[in-house]
């Protein structure tokens, strides 16, 4: 009823296309822009918390909230892990997180909370369990009109489904971590000099904080790299920090490297190393 005239139009368009099919993609509609806060959640004990999702786009949008798995690699990247490939720890993590709602429709400018809590089973061994909560807009179905088909010949539309993931970390029972830093080196990277060092970690807990490099006699750190996590699945994380030539020159010689918790968590020292950077 509707398809037949459309096919006819397409055929007409196709003969035109034989000479030169024009493809024009539609302009960006930016539906599904989002804000998520906080950006990292640690749950210990039975108290729950909430994460705020806000629609910062210009149109109403529907978001899906899901749980995903990631594993950190030695160079600090998070690799996606399919749920069928989950190990026991990841399986337990997926099973203990309760959250609602799982789907939210929001008008522009409107925030809403997603409540979440962890219910670890009684027999669960002490340890740190982690999932990554994803917030993603569901694209609205688009309508094809005859006018569109007639007017544009061949068109390509690639709709990005975009979102944010944040880690949800459950600390169950007694968990701790021992951390040490290796001696840093200045190496030549693709974009210029880089500071290279490793964070060595042992124990059940992850660590999260900022690396800073201070020179004796200078009050401010020459390099400050925040938001560096070392998750329990790795015992050593290689860190590479891009440097300017000036920073590289300044850093050579004696220096102190500190790995500290974030300022909002009190800024406690996790590990430090004094050394000579060559």
């Amino acid at each position: 009823m509707f398809l037949k005239p459309l096919r006819n139009l397409t055929t007409i368009a196709a003969s035109f296309a034989a000479f030169g099919a024009l493809s024009i993609a539609t302009p960006a509609h930016a539906q599904g822009d989002l804000l998520v806060a906080p950006t990292r959640v640690i749950l210990d004990g039975s108290r729950g918390t909430e994460v705020i999702l806000s629609n910062i786009g210009a149109d109403e949008a529907t978001y899906r909230i899901g749980l995903e798995l990631r594993r950190m690699t030695d160079n600090g990247r998070l690799e996606p892990v399919e749920k069928v490939d989950a190990n026991d720890t990841e399986e337990a993590a997926l099973g203990m997180i309760r959250y609602a709602p799982r789907r939210i429709s929001l008008p522009p400018g409107q925030p809403q909370s997603v409540r979440l809590s962890a219910r670890p089973g009684a027999e669960l061994p002490d340890g740190e369990y982690r999932v990554h909560m994803s917030f993603k807009a569901i694209p609205r179905p688009t309508e094809v009109t005859q006018e569109d088909t007639q007017a544009e010949g061949v068109t390509l539309r690639l709709i990005p489904i975009y979102g944010i993931t944040i880690p949800i970390i459950v600390r169950h029972g007694d968990v701790e971590a021992q951390v040490a830093l290796t001696q840093p080196l200045i190496v030549q990277g693709e974009k210029g000099p880089e500071l290279a060092l490793s964070i060595e970690r042992a124990g059940e807990s992850s660590t999260y904080g900022a690396l800073s490099i201070v020179k004796p006699g200078l009050p401010d750190p020459i390099v400050l790299a925040g938001g560096i996590a070392v998750y329990p699945e790795i015992g050593s994380r290689e860190v590479r920090i891009n440097l300017t030539e000036e920073q590289a020159a300044l850093l050579r010689g004696p220096a102190r490297i500190e790995y500290r918790e974030l300022e909002e968590k009190g800024g406690a020292l996790i590990a430090a190393v004094d050394g000579v950077i060559g």
Partner: protein, 182 residues
């Protein structure tokens, strides 16, 4: 730097917190705690779609590739011809959050999963002349920011493969872009 003030949305929770403070100190003097929790936020906006521009596929074409890289530069190879330029561009996203953190960009693994743009008037058809394959995605930030500045715009480009038999019409596909906080 992006911060989100929780009291703006959680007025009820703030009220409850104040109430509890008052009860706990109800004996002699009345004191009330005023609480505001500032939360670090991460936000992502889509500024532009991925557009391959005008592509010419001649009758009897043996097919070819069209690539728009993460900075918007287009190249056509094989038996497809890049049409007049200007319309093609990379998808653009802006990510904002706390500075000096690590933010990663995860693109859908289209090389493994395969993403198909389907002719909208032939939904569900697997015929070659109704489908165009998206075979590659790249981002201009090379996977993310080890030392995030607080606000960055990144581009996403891709490569499509046409077999030359595609009929005229609109082809629609989807791909995933995720910004990850660790």
């Amino acid at each position: 730097m992006t911060k989100f003030l929780r009291t703006a949305t959680a007025g009820v929770a703030l009220f409850a917190a104040v109430g509890m403070g008052t009860v706990a100190n109800a004996q002699v003097t009345e004191t009330a705690d005023a609480r505001a929790e500032v939360l670090a936020a991460l936000q992502l906006t889509n500024d532009d779609d991925l557009n391959f521009g005008a592509i010419i596929v001649n009758n009897g074409s043996t097919g070819g590739d069209v690539t728009v890289d993460a900075t918007g530069v287009r190249t056509c190879s094989g038996d497809v011809i890049c049409g007049p330029g200007a319309a093609e561009h990379e998808a653009l996203f802006t990510v904002s959050g706390a500075a000096n953190t690590s933010v990663a960009i995860l693109l859908e693994d289209v090389a493994t999963n395969g993403v198909t743009l389907r002719h909208t008037a032939n939904a569900g058809s697997a015929a070659a002349n109704h489908n165009i394959e998206l075979v590659n995605l790249t981002d201009s930030a090379a996977g993310g920011y080890a030392s995030f500045s607080g606000s960055e715009q990144f581009g996403v480009g891709g490569r499509i493969v046409l077999d030359g038999s595609e009929i005229a019409g609109e082809y629609v596909g989807q791909f995933d872009v995720t910004v990850e906080y660790q």
